[in-house]
Symmetry: C3
Subunit: 564 residues, 3 copies
């Protein structure tokens, strides 16, 4: 036992040391971007940002300087012609300047507004999870969902954003948010970013701040998923530490691999696997990460007292279905930010695709809820409300990765399959002896993986031209062909997605399991049994969720060995 | 009885057959639009979409080809002058290209975001209706409001959208969403659209998908209104079938008549009645349709057990006023999408009117709530909270049709009149023996009709130039004169509105009454009386809304004959 | 006593008379703006509105006419050069026209959408306050929060907007909303605006209506704050009158001083105090005004029965923490409209700063909640959920004034200080014998003042160039230097902020105290004691909040002298 503690402490110290080295390296790095940040926005959004739907810019390219570039001559000629023309049309250049400002303004406004919607999903998670739990723990469940927002945010501001986007090397920072972003720096071997801690220095920039806001609320979604699977027995102090760990380590490192230009994103460029790992809005990055972190947590934590009697799972119904369904509506509403916002813009370079993304998102949620209702009605005799809610969420989770790459029929099918998967997964998880009060593992874990894989099946090639630096001029011998799945002829994309799926499960489960296990040994992560039986609100939070509730008639609590 | 069943089955079969013919005709139609859809958005939003506030385009018009057009010469000259000029200013043309992309991006973003707000109204309806019902049915009422969203969506995707917008012939598809839309096809005799089932083929287009999203959530508002009037006794399986019927038939067909370029919209062009039926955001199309469908449903379904004792209506107070008031807030919030979003854009062609629309919407909700409060305080001694909520909604329903055509004083008056109407209508509906637990018939039916008529009274001519193809160059002898009501000199507009009002009542009541009556005969539409008395949650949904509630002290249920 | 009544009546009459004079003066004023309003939006958003990030316009300046202007020659030359050039590039001018339309469309859409979010905060306030109160008053507390929205709106429409923005003289109307606004008129000696009652005449304009919507919801935030501090004992009829008073008098007059170009805004130009009173989104204008109005109200009203027993404050826990936390989430969500929307635009003239504003807002809320949690955990042993919610709100209130002027580290510090302040202020207010059931005085009053002062400390000079007409070309000897606080070298800014802080406390407390005291004498402002003990829902509203609740076990109500 003492040895384990020693080991644990050593592990923590090593981890802290490594993190500290990266942070220090970043803060004091001399490899600064050549451009300064633009905190006031006065210099962001210019003629060079003006762009049409196909991605053609007003200024053909920055004046080329790399004479060894094979396209140097062509680029130079295009630029010279433009420059000659511009002398005769100074007002047109000015008008384009205004158009560039407008474009960046549209894109930043779009990114912020959709980010707000994602932030509001926190309220949805809080309501769904609290509604699905018992009234005696209402304040406790609400508070984990409430406090993860500030805790995660601070963690992401300290180091999460830097690890994830502080060096987007090959894929480059999103141009839709204006000019050249300070994120446009090399990362550390495709593993981790090393710049932008505390958003300091040249990261004090209007484009970077917009990106930070949007990515922060995504991270918070991941962070809040385990609060459902681990609800009704999680020690609050243990939860607080977890909040920093997930936002500073688990989420941003894997996130960098897929969205920050890391090694999974580069599988296409480096190993010829389709366009690399493609996950438009995070079925994997956000939901699977959350789902498998939740699974690890629920396993290490053990089931609630009374959940399993002689190994048989007992139903513990949620105390407030209207609350849970309101939460589901809020989540479905916020998802219209989650998916369409992941373009990081509305104008220029096929960003008008947002409408297709929004409709796909909506339709997958519909088939998810509808098929789940049919399934449970047919299988168990009633259109179970909790499962209908989880079915809608399952459809949403699944469509999150493929939403930009499929048509409406694909979206309906993806949602329908997710409905079946979540309906099978919920009893399966329970049968495996894991207590997940709200079905978070099935909704976010299982269906997240399905979402990642479905890109490799249903992507129709209409969108994602040049994704992850692959196929900018042509793909599979066709010009203007984007990300393509197996059903449209590209098996290698499915391979990339499968690798991504394996990696996200392995990384998030392992990183979380190690953390929770160590934490359990070092400080304990579970509430006192007596508190759990009587309700966590007063002993853990110091206040009742409701002063005027009637206790549920519960199955007599049976004390069984707790934990794994 | 057997004869009725035969008749009913025959009716259903005929209806299904007709629908199938239209769908097949559409799917296999050779009358395809000449242009393909643009699924990636790469070709949407160009110089030809750039437009100033007055509606002037950058490119004067597409090169005219119709030499028989009387304005051919003028158009040709304008275009030739532009083309000559464009040779000297290639960069200006490019800058305009960027401006066109920006304009369409603004408009699509606006349409999506406002559509999201309308979608969120579903949550508002769910809370208002559940709050106004009894706790024993909380899961049931929530679930009808929850499942109508996916069910209606699937129905609208299958055929509703095609019937409504799959052929906008004379009025043309909304240019604000970019280029020429595939919707720009002829319909079938002004009765029904015949293209775009499953959003397939050239309807896979960024502009069409944006339109679909916005129109889908509007349909869902109509579809969810009867869940209030028919609450606490509606068999869930009957409700599910209704969900498809309203989204595939009732709503889209009438909707086509007013918004899809159908015969009511054309009353101005064909019969000289003002600008034809004008209903900016759907006091009639959405709310009256929902309200009179609800009335038919409530009549066919019959009152709740215990509502009328010896013919005298008994008050059955809602179980949760904070929930209902929160729902009202959400509805008032979502209405800022509903009305201002109905421009389908913010930039170009007087779309800046959105701010006037938003303020009118807000002010009518204020006078609606305030006057209702005064009325009930004065008449019954207390500022009844339920009625204040309904008063705000009444003002919102009423302003929905006229919001774009009136000034702020008109809006305040329209809301105040709606307040009086709803306050009179609620007791009247009850006195007529109809049990409408939430007042849906009065709020959406009665005040919807008032909204339709009020356009014909208060429209001040400042907006709606060329509406429904009427008066593009001048109206009533004045240039730049839009939709005008009686108080500003155009009595014929009021006539068009009156016809529209009669038609919406007749169509939606009849289409719904026939459906519900047949359904009642064929499968039954009402919950079992025992379930109704004990609460529908467990028997119908399989789960309690609340596990820890105290039953209301209810009036002793008196069994009376149920139904009409 | 009779004398006091006489005095009170006289005061009211004088006040009404003065208001009437201003309103009449405004309505019949011949000092009309030279330009008409643009109700259709056809003439708003032109080439003259096109603007780049640094604020450079496409048309250098309107053709200068004032030959005595020292810059006349330079302006004339610039304009003449442009005009000469424009003849050669007519298409570029047209393209700029489209860009100008786009810019105004972006800005109006941004202003509306963020305004909607602020409107939704009403729901957040309603939930927070109702959740923190007892279930027996749930309908009453909800209704004050619900009805303040329509009541305040009507008051603001009648006179509030005119007093606040009906004459923005020196600082000028916000150009981001298009053209020259009718608000661009002189006010009355920097004290009060005198145009725009009922939004009539040339105020019927798309830009003005957008401004009205945004400012209305801000006013409503102020108006709803006292409903928390005065909850559970406020007579509803007295509340209704208050609603008109705060929206027509208290808020708009002080608001004019800071945001309408009044004397506090001009402290920089007239007395050399920094950039004058700077309050970006209203820590002072909105929150302190609300907080000190609430303090006056709570004092005049007296504590709830049972709150103080023998002078010792008794805890009265809220009945529904999940409701209160949901409300807090809604408020945090709406604040993303509140602060970033206060740019009144996204495009042109450094409006891209919105992303920095949004991130600062978010980070201050995080440190506010997190530090509060730590403080209460450390100080009282539990992470009190109510205080965590109030801590998040405290951070949000504090960052509201400085959000645009600081970087992310400043924001985190400002939020952390607010956390400590609110944690100290809540017990202090209680100790002073003031009963504030929800902590509104501490959250909005105390932290609002901190927010105002923090501008004078942390503003880093990156933003706010030319704010309140100060330092347009250079400030502190540096070009492009904006609002600067003490820590960045400008002590005079802190002086301006301190004056503003004193004024807002004095004005709002005094204006409210006089009103409430008179109202108390004339009509009474407190519910009957028996009603208060049994719950206000039935006696005051005529309906129970919940029909199925269990009464809280309350401390035996002790009748003590009520009021001050």
């Amino acid at each position: 036992m003492r040895r384990i503690r020693h080991l644990a402490r050593a592990f923590c110290r090593v981890q802290l040391f490594v993190l500290a080295v990266f942070m220090l390296a970043g803060v004091f790095s001399t490899v600064q971007a050549a451009w300064a940040g633009d905190p006031s926005g006065a210099n962001t959004g210019k003629a060079s940002d003006a762009m049409d739907g196909a991605g053609n810019t007003f200024i053909p390219s920055p004046p080329p300087t790399d004479t060894k570039d094979p396209t140097y001559a062509a680029k130079k000629q295009a630029y010279d012609e433009y420059a000659a023309r511009a002398k005769y049309e100074p007002l047109a250049v000015q008008a384009a300047d205004m158009a560039g400002q407008n474009r960046v303004a549209i894109n930043i406004a779009w990114t912020l507004i959709t980010g707000y919607l994602v932030m509001f999903m926190q309220a949805g998670f809080a309501l769904v999870e609290t509604g699905f739990c018992r009234g005696k723990n209402a304040a406790h469940v609400m508070m984990t969902n409430f406090m993860i927002y500030p805790i995660g945010m601070l963690g992401f501001w300290i180091s999460g954003f830097a690890f994830m986007f502080g060096g987007m090397g090959s894929i480059g920072a999103p141009g839709s948010l204006g000019g050249v972003s300070p994120c446009n720096l090399p990362d550390w071997h495709g593993i981790i970013g090393t710049h932008g801690f505390f958003l300091k220095g040249n990261f004090y920039d209007v484009g970077v701040y917009a990106l930070f806001l949007f990515q922060m609320v995504f991270m918070d979604t991941t962070a809040t998923i385990p609060t459902g699977a681990m609800a009704e027995r999680w020690k609050f102090s243990a939860f607080v530490l977890y909040g920093f760990y997930v936002s500073m380590v688990i989420y941003p490192i894997y996130g960098h691999w897929v969205w920050g230009g890391g090694w999974l994103a580069m599988l296409g460029a480096t190993h010829g696997l389709g366009h690399g790992a493609v996950d438009f809005a995070g079925s994997g990055v956000v939901h699977s990460t959350g789902g498998f972190t939740a699974l690890a947590g629920a396993i290490v934590l053990g089931p609630r007292i009374g959940k399993f009697i002689r190994g048989k799972p007992q139903p513990i119904p949620g105390h407030n279905l209207p609350m849970a369904l309101l939460g589901t509506f809020i989540l479905a509403f916020g998802w219209f930010g989650f998916n369409p916002g992941s373009t990081l813009g509305a104008s220029g370079g096929m960003n008008l695709r947002i409408s297709v993304i929004a409709v796909n998102t909506m339709l997958a949620s519909a088939s998810g809820a509808f098929i789940t209702m049919c399934y449970w009605w047919w299988r168990y005799g009633k259109p179970d409300p909790s499962m209908c809610a989880n079915g809608m969420l399952a459809g949403l989770v699944a469509i999150t990765a493929p939403c930009a790459f499929v048509d409406s029929i694909g979206a309906v099918i993806i949602g329908a399959v997710a409905a079946v998967l979540v309906s099978l997964s919920v009893p399966l998880v329970e049968k495996a002896g894991v207590d997940d009060p709200v079905g978070a593992v099935s909704v976010h874990g299982t269906c997240g993986i399905w979402g990642v894989l479905s890109v490799g099946l249903f992507a129709d090639g209409k969108y994602g031209i040049g994704w992850n630096t692959v196929g900018a001029t042509s793909y599979m011998g066709v010009a203007n062909r984007g990300v393509t799945g197996l059903f449209y002829g590209d098996a290698s994309q499915l391979a990339a997605q499968a690798i991504d799926a394996v990696v996200v499960i392995a990384w998030s489960f392992a990183a979380a399991w190690i953390f929770f296990t160590l934490q359990k040994k070092l400080m304990g992560i579970r509430s006192a049994p007596q508190d759990e039986i009587e309700g966590l609100d007063l002993p853990e939070m110091g206040a009742l969720g409701y002063t005027d509730r009637v206790p549920e008639s519960e199955p007599e609590p049976v004390r069984e060995p707790v934990g794994v």
